[in-house]
Symmetry: C2
Subunit: 314 residues, 2 copies
């Protein structure tokens, strides 16, 4: 027999709850007054849109939380808690929900971000997860601060998750790449790694920052638009994983997927001249004047234009 709402909360979600949750008895959390401004972000994930309904429930839960933590990471914020609203489809089971909550509990601990509240509902539609995460933001890094001449950086390899999604949608296209590379890109699609480790670098040096969730090309365009500038990026300087390099060498047309696909959850940021990036951080280009979409240049110096994020090579 499935749990009723009260039992469900007591059994699955109470173990994740922090002090602000007040035992999840009040429908309202109570956070102590914070010493800093508060960064607040919300992301909604829908089965069949943002993940596959039959993905492991632990990973669905962790992805739903981590995309929010990634937003906080990009702002240099430290997560302090989250609220989970979940609409369960008609066929949910105690076992499924136990695994979902177990995955979430593991992340709540790993990221020191307790559950503080939320809501549960049923839905005649697909599983829908809405998380709101809160974080202390002593120095919030907006998207709008990039200035002419700033260098543009990314915090890690681009495109693995988009390749992982493409592999699930069109496995035939990836038959030539190694099992190890396939596993690597699938794992990156399933589970983002929010770059909370970068807060020192971002707070200390970044003029603008955002996480890359909708593809490097589209997201850089958002950053430059918010900042009232443009940009030039050398595709040869964009870091790719060994798996992505292998996929690209076998099928160069995957470059479009790599640069415009989503789910990277690395940080895209800009810094003034003279910043020395720590290991793992790659300079990919520079902020330029103007208001056009960023220019992405190939190895021969030719310009690749990607209007509204979609790939078109001239």
């Amino acid at each position: 027999m499935r749990f009723c709402e009260d039992d469900l909360i007591a059994n699955f979600f109470l173990p994740l709850a922090g002090p602000a949750a007040l035992g999840l008895k009040d429908d309202t959390a109570l956070m102590t007054a914070r010493p800093y401004p508060l960064a607040v972000t919300a992301d909604m994930l829908v089965a069949g849109v943002h993940f596959f309904a039959d993905d492991p429930p632990e990973l669905i839960a962790q992805k739903a939380l981590r995309v929010n933590l990634s937003d906080l990471a990009a702002k240099g914020a430290v997560p302090v808690g989250f609220l989970l609203s979940i609409a369960l489809p008609m066929d949910w089971t105690n076992d499924w929900l136990g695994r979902f909550a177990g995955g979430l509990a593991q992340d709540a601990q790993e990221f020191a971000t307790p559950l503080i509240g939320g809501d549960t509902s049923s839905t005649p539609g697909p599983l829908t997860i809405a998380i709101t995460a809160l974080g202390d933001a002593p120095r919030f890094i907006a998207r709008s601060g990039a200035a002419l001449g700033d260098d543009i950086y990314v915090s890690g390899p681009i495109g693995d998750a988009a390749l992982g999604l493409k592999l699930r949608q069109d496995p035939a296209r990836f038959e030539q790449i190694s099992m190890q590379a396939r596993e690597a890109i699938l794992a990156r699609y399933l589970l983002p790694h929010p770059r909370l480790d970068l807060r020192g670098v971002l707070r200390g040096f970044a003029t603008a920052a955002m996480d890359i969730s909708d593809g490097l090309i589209g997201d850089l365009a958002k950053l430059t638009r918010a900042s009232g500038v443009s940009a030039e990026v050398a595709i040869a300087d964009i870091p790719f994983s060994a798996a992505a390099k292998q996929a690209l060498s076998l099928d160069p047309s995957l470059l479009e997927t790599v640069l415009t696909g989503g789910d990277d959850y690395e940080i895209l940021f800009t810094c003034g001249q003279g910043f020395t990036p720590p290991p793992g951080i790659s300079r990919i280009g520079q902020i330029t004047a103007g208001s056009g979409a960023p220019l992405f240049k190939d190895a021969s110096g030719g310009a690749c234009v990607f209007p509204s994020g979609s790939y078109r090579h001239f």
Copy 2:
């Protein structure tokens, strides 16, 4: 042609945004450090579960926000902003979303509660709305503070919204009641009125408080359980509207709907002896010792037992 996500945000949601939204450009809001502890609440509404998909979009939007404001009101908190995550079904139109955002804008202004962030998505399922609301809570009133001998109060008439829902599900049962009464209960179902006006009373005198969203009987049981006490309520002292009185006199079996149905969004609270309630606030009973479900007594003093919120008369 329907708006893309960026245009949709710029056209419909930017007009509702407060300073903390940073122009809705950052995927993350930034609230200034608050002087008080922060009350945070989240509620998710699903079409076909919490409202009818063909209800006026303005009212769907306002209900989704107001159920959250009602949670804050019950804690004596002052709303300062909200985040909206919305999953739109495949057939949404600009007109529908314009009306939805218009209703929300009206409430954001009326309740001085700007939009500060959120997320938009598509869904193959029903319209799903997840709102998180934040409020300053100088004195948070938990559910768990009710003490032996405290009086139990409700802030207004009980059961109208539940009757309104019943009328929509089973119109034949309401043929005898007046048009005016029908309109009154339908309106109460469609649009809650969060009791933010009660914060002075609650902060000054309440020992425990919650909003009544799942029916008086079930919600009082939650309050007494959280407080480790029980209660006695005189059904004759529960305030009913003229419309509810009319419905009950024509069909006394509707008492079950009135006391166990949801969507009242009045405040249920307890106070120590000696509190003089302002006009409109009704004393309905008293906190007693024990851990059993609250006793509801009829006019003759007979006990009506409502195990787990469902009505059974002895």
